[in-house]
Amino acid sequence: MAHGTATDFLVRAALDDAFRELALTDPQRAFEGYDLSDEERDILCSRDGRLLGLLGAAVAKAKTPIEQTAEDDPPETAESHFPSLPEVNLLLRLDPRVTHAPDSAPSVGYAASLSPWPGEHERKPPDEEGREQAAEQSNDAPPGVSWIIRITPTVVDSVTDALPCGSRLNKASSVTAGLKVAYHASIHPNPSQTSEEPPSAERPTAASATSPWIHHVESAAAKAAAQAVRASDADGRYDKLLDLIDALQTGDERG
């Protein structure tokens, strides 16, 4: 009598080489002795993406990816509903101009320009850029300087027409009504301006190795917590170990 489940079938296929071969070459014969639904047989024959669901169900029962139903959906907010807006990057350039008046000392003025910041892939090859910079610097004016102005828009609210109270935002209707957008602007040095090294060769001036996870192993708090772990009995040890983790992360800062 058939008694094995789909999980048993999958476990055996992972552990038993001969059975695996049979499952791959003659699945109908491999199914003998297993009590499988038509859908399970279909999945095990076609071995498509649905097999992942079968594996997930076998291992964690309820821990397979959850498809959200409309009822599960939290009410959508403007932030969760609208796409994030693209960042705007502008290039602010200042070019000094030296003016030599006949009867006075030379005076310096600036020509300022604002232009779109070209995407990385639109940039010129490094040596072409270098040649241009060298050409620019050969006149007697000091080299120009440039910065990147970054403007990051964020949708803070939506203005919707005639949306019945309590109804969920509907993409089409709310988009037509309008968005309230806040802008955050910041200014950054232009990494590709006349530095001695191209941006890809940027390096910190002083070497300081960083560790991915910083734990205060030398702190008095961690040492005391370790002592408490050692002193605890088997029943209390797990909690003392969690205290030790806490001490390792906060160190002595809690005083």
Binding site: T7, L10, V11, A13, A14, L15, R20, A23, L24, L44, R47, G49, L51, L52, L55, G56, A58, V59, A60, K63, T64, P65, I66, E67, Q68, S80, P83, S84, P86, E87, G119, E120, H121, P125, D127, P199, S200, P212, W213, H215, V217, A222, K223, A225, A226, V229, R230, A234, R237, Y238, L241, L242, L244, I245, L248
Partner: protein
């Protein structure tokens, strides 16, 4: 004596477990593991008298993933103090994308316990094989998806990139819910700063079971949001290089084929 051995179980269940790992598990009094492979439990129970899965007790919907790592570390140390030696086993390679081994190492140091880490086959190894990638050709840059966005890390478009945890991007909380397109918009905007929109990228999930082929989706970078429902937490994104960097050191280029140069740089 080693009190705790930290091992990786590979990705393809259970075929990628090394003999070294198997030997260590056989010699342990308990193996504590975090791996959702369908045959893991049966297999480990055949090697060790006590096999304890930590997955179910570690992860909770909408809870911080870091809490799961704290729980794992405390359970492993607890076992090691009670009945050493123990093995802590996890999916893939044990120091790739998992915090618990680092915590265990530091806690063990304070408790005078000895820890050893053994290599395992990582998802990266599987993807190198699946996609035929040679990281020695143009190099390889690797980032964790959320960290990439938080720090706005720059990418070199001439170097292929692996982006880990794209299916978990923008949250440090655990969830099994399917992603919406909006989840990938920030990632797309960031990547578009370095790659053209039509650049073909590859989302890959190396098979966890011998009956199942690996899953590989290829799509234009600009279309990543439309793939949201497919990109579960097991996926890694591979971005091939978009341009080739020209050779700059012409002198060395000439020397690499020169016997005379070889003699000069060797004894």
């Amino acid at each position: 004596m080693v009190d705790i051995t930290i091992v990786g179980l590979g990705v393809l269940n259970v075929d990628q477990i090394t003999r070294e790992t198997e030997r260590v598990i056989r010699g342990s009094n308990e193996v504590l593991y975090v791996d959702t492979g369908v045959a893991t439990r049966t297999y480990l129970e055949g090697l060790c008298p006590r096999a304890t899965s930590l997955f179910e007790t570690s992860y909770e919907e909408a809870a911080h993933r870091v809490n799961a790592y704290h729980h794992m570390a405390a359970r492993v140390l607890d076992a090691a103090m009670d009945h050493p030696p123990v093995t802590f086993a996890m999916h893939g390679h044990p120091t790739v994308g998992v915090f618990a081994p680092f915590l265990i190492r530091d806690m063990a140091g304070l408790l005078d316990l000895e820890v050893r880490v053994l290599p395992g086959i990582s998802a990266m190894d599987c993807l190198f094989a699946e996609l035929m990638i040679d990281p020695c050709v143009a190099g390889m840059q690797m980032y964790e998806a959320t960290d990439l966005l938080l720090r706005r890390r720059p990418l070199l478009p001439d170097v292929p990139a692996l982006i880990w945890q794209i299916g978990c991007v923008e949250t440090s909380l655990h969830t099994m819910h399917v992603s919406k397109p909006i989840r990938f918009e920030r990632l797309r905007s960031h990547l578009l700063r370095f790659y053209p929109p039509e650049h073909e990228v590859v989302a890959a999930y190396a098979t966890p079971h011998p009956l199942m082929p690996s899953t590989v989706y290829r799509f234009a970078l600009r279309d990543i949001c439309e793939q949201a429902h497919l990109l579960h937490p097991g996926f890694t994104l591979f971005i091939p290089s978009a341009v080739e960097r020209p050779i700059e050191d012409r002198e060395l280029l000439h020397l690499v084929d020169s016997v005379e140069h070889l003699r000069r740089i060797t004894r």
